[in-house]
């Protein structure tokens, strides 16, 4: 589904970026972090509009011809959730880095070994971060309806279908879809909680 693809892409961008921002010290780091933090609250409609303007056939990336396609929706969602995943994973890794920094220096650990250890040791916290990103992705309607167009069979997702059915006055169907959406996100949360508690129990045997 669209949300899962954008989540995967956003994770591949966000987690390494968050990690690098946590452990590397460079000149624009603070500024960059401030920008990413403020992007967390980016209004979806604005993202939709900007992506629309870029992907429109009369826009700079119009030659790609991907407006009103799932690809366009994935792009918009990645822009929406990558900052969340970056900022939150940065926070988690930074805390861990306080703990591990001297140790890794003392052990002469290579940067790549350190990065793997950071991500591995915070994997359960990162799971929650990913969940937060997923929550934003599947609940979002403003951006995907602009760049996707809510085209039946092509770019209609749960949220845009709810919006459509509501506007048709089919409140029961809209509510039904809403409940399905809720169940999906609830079961994913439960799954993550279950993985966490299971692995903790296992680790503490």
């Amino acid at each position: 589904m669209v949300s899962l693809s954008s989540l995967t892409i956003a994770c591949f961008i966000g987690i390494p970026l968050g990690t690098v921002l946590a452990i590397k010290r460079f000149y624009f780091r603070k500024t960059l972090l401030a920008i990413i933090n403020s992007l967390m609250g980016l209004p979806p409609v604005l993202v939709g509009l900007i992506v629309y303007l870029y992907l429109s056939r009369s826009g700079p990336l119009g030659w790609l011809g991907i407006l009103y396609s799932p690809t366009a929706m994935i792009i918009a969602q990645v822009i929406l959730i990558a900052p969340i995943i970056t900022a939150l994973s940065n926070q988690i890794i930074e805390e861990l880095h306080e703990d591990y920094r001297d140790l890794f220096l003392s052990l002469n650990a290579k940067p790549i070994q350190a990065v793997i250890a950071y991500i591995y040791d915070s994997r359960y916290s990162l799971l929650t971060v990913i969940l937060a990103g997923f929550g934003r992705a599947i609940s979002e309607v403003g951006a995907v309806i602009i760049v996707g167009g809510n085209i039946d069979h092509l770019t209609r997702v749960m949220t845009t279908a709810i919006a459509l059915e509501t506007s048709k006055g089919n409140l029961n169907l809209a509510l039904g879809l809403g409940i399905i959406l809720l169940i999906i996100s609830l079961s994913i949360s439960l799954l993550v909680m279950w993985i966490k508690s299971f692995s903790k129990r296992y680790a503490h045997v």
Binding site: Y100, K200, A203, H204
Partner: protein
């Protein structure tokens, strides 16, 4: 400078510190230190709080960049190359958030030359039964024993311990001290910071006494405790100079 009576062995070198200064935010924290650390035995660094002991050890291990001067280990300046031949146990145990054995495995996997006999190390630190436990379930003493075991995975030539036994349970302290005595016999140089005068008396071969970012005395342990030279050391040993 006073030298240890023991002669250095061929593959081991004393650490030579020359005019070492460290300044952070325009504050002088270590002021023009010059000394030689003996190549063998246990050197205990003592001194009141704020004397610069921890910073000095961090410099010796190459964790902190010097403002001035230099440190030679053998004929190499201290840095990544020398760090690989040394290990450090920190005051607060810096354990990976994993199980006990995974902490040792992590270090073992960093470098294939490392000591692979991890179970033996767990036995020596009396952690065998806790092998698969997550470190968050360990007590303070167990954590520090694990830190020591992990520090030994890489077969270091020098082992630094920064107040590694302060406020630990007596059993853990004695396990750690016994292990230090054991590896000292295997020609591992141990450099230890402690506030515990009795501990220093028990295990030290020689003493470096610091105050206010400067080295006041570098002596054999027996000489130091029998007859401290400086006023600060006298006051410190009497307990008047607050730790």
């Amino acid at each position: 400078m006073r030298m240890s009576s023991k002669a250095p062995k061929s593959h081991m070198f004393p650490i030579v510190v020359k005019n070492l200064s460290l300044e952070i935010n325009k504050k002088i924290l270590l002021n023009n230190l010059t000394c030689e650390l003996t190549a063998h035995g246990i050197t205990v660094i003592m001194g009141p709080n704020g004397a610069g002991k921890s910073l000095f050890v961090r410099c010796l291990h190459g964790l902190t960049k010097l403002t001035n001067g230099g440190i030679l280990y053998g004929n190499l300046p201290v840095g990544a190359a020398t760090r690989g031949r040394q290990s450090m146990v920190f005051q607060s145990p810096k354990l990976l958030r994993r199980s006990v054995i995974e902490n040792l495995r992590f270090v073992a996997n960093l470098n294939k030359k490392n000591n692979q006999n991890l179970l033996e190390l767990l036995k020596k630190t009396e952690l065998s039964l806790l092998k698969d436990q997550h470190v968050s379930t360990l007590s303070g003493g167990e954590k520090q024993r694990l830190s020591l075991a992990r520090a030994l995975v890489s077969n270091p030539e020098i082992l630094f311990l920064d107040e590694a036994t302060s406020s630990l349970d007596p059993r853990s302290v004695s396990i750690i001290e016994d292990l230090m005595e054991e590896i000292k016999l295997k020609n591992v140089k141990i450099i230890l910071i402690t506030h515990d005068v009795n501990q220093a008396k028990r295990i030290a071969d020689d003493i470096i006494f610091m105050n206010n970012g400067e080295i006041r005395e570098t002596r054999l342990a027996n000489d130091f405790f029998a007859d401290p030279h400086s006023q600060e050391a006298k006051a410190f040993l009497k307990g008047d100079l607050i730790i």
